[in-house]
């Protein structure tokens, strides 16, 4: 006989399952560097490039970044790379106050990593194991299991969604939209401007989160055939209570 545990919330959404793999906070990522926008929009590639900040965290498996969402800042994950075995580098965007070219000043933001457990942390407490494989499905002996308090999808609701009022709202989600636009300069023959955008999030107020598009790169391009590119897909963000995180 196979026994499974599934718990639903009041809205009948699934919140705990012994068939899942519950991530927990494996630690706070340590700040490495803050880089401001650099270069000139009138130059050829790379031209002017947006700033970013980098953070590192050590964990033996893949990690999911979770980032602070201070009110009024445009924030999101640019990339996550495993730079050496077990060491992950998270590159973040956290900007405000665009300059005359549209590139925002970058700020340091708190970032944590969530990952998975191979063994239980504490001797006492609830641990769920997968009924088929025995692998840990949820280890509630960990300090900060993933506990989403709100969620929304920028692809489904482009104007934004409401988040619960939390002591400290932190987000788990990856940008869903990026675009490359090339615009020929009027009367210039074969000179165009190349723009690259990526979508991030802004906590517009205590209870409102919107998607924003950030200018990531701009340069001058000699081309007779300006081309556009891009992708748009589901942009789910989970909002967590960050107050108990390290």
């Amino acid at each position: 006989m196979t026994v499974r545990l599934r718990v639903k919330n009041g809205a009948q959404e699934l919140v705990v399952s012994s068939e899942g793999r519950l991530p927990y906070c494996v630690g706070k990522a340590t700040f490495q560097a803050l880089v401001q926008p650099a270069g000139s929009v009138g130059a050829e590639a790379p031209g002017r490039v947006a700033g970013y900040s980098t953070y590192q965290v050590a964990h033996a498996g893949p990690v999911i970044p979770v980032f602070d969402m201070p009110i009024g800042f445009n924030v999101g994950v640019i990339s996550v790379t495993e730079i050496s075995a077990g060491l992950h580098e998270i590159k973040m965007y956290c900007g405000m106050s665009p300059d005359t070219d549209g590139f925002e000043t970058q700020y340091v933001v708190d970032v944590w990593a969530y990952g998975f457990a191979a063994a239980r942390a504490g001797a006492f407490g609830l641990v769920l194991r997968d009924a088929d494989s025995g692998v840990i499905a949820a280890d509630f002996t960990r300090d900060a299991p993933l506990f989403p308090r709100g969620s929304g999808d920028i692809y489904a609701t482009p104007t934004g969604f409401s988040a619960p009022s939390l002591t400290r709202a932190v987000g788990l989600g990856m940008p869903a939209y990026w675009a490359v636009q090339e615009t020929a300069r009027p009367g210039s023959g074969s000179v165009a401007d190349h723009y690259e955008y990526q979508m991030f999030w802004r906590r517009a107020s205590i209870t409102s989160i919107v998607g924003i598009t950030a200018l990531m790169k701009q340069y001058r391009l000699n081309t007779e055939t300006p081309t556009n590119d891009g992708d748009d897909g589901p942009g789910v963000l989970f909002v967590l209570e960050g107050a108990p995180l390290p």
Binding site: A11, L14, E19, P244
Partner: protein, 93 residues
Amino acid sequence: MVDQVLIIRSDTGSVKFDSRLAVGGVCLGLYTVASGGSVFAFNGMGPGLQGVALNLAGKGVPAAAYTYDNSLGHPRFTFAGGASGMTVALFVK
């Protein structure tokens, strides 16, 4: 009948998890899409769930590269070859 509720407290008494406050979203783990595409199906989980995929490397999962369906009566995520090499976090709710 009262709904079942799961509340987990730390040893100082603070609440680590409360199923009444949690929103839907159970993580099914992290998976890497093989070259040529991959299908991830979870046949123990039953029907009626919605799926969410996050691309951990950055940028989203393009809508053209992935579909989610319940046609077999359980969650199934299908990633096309265009997503090969992506490490994705899969959630259902």
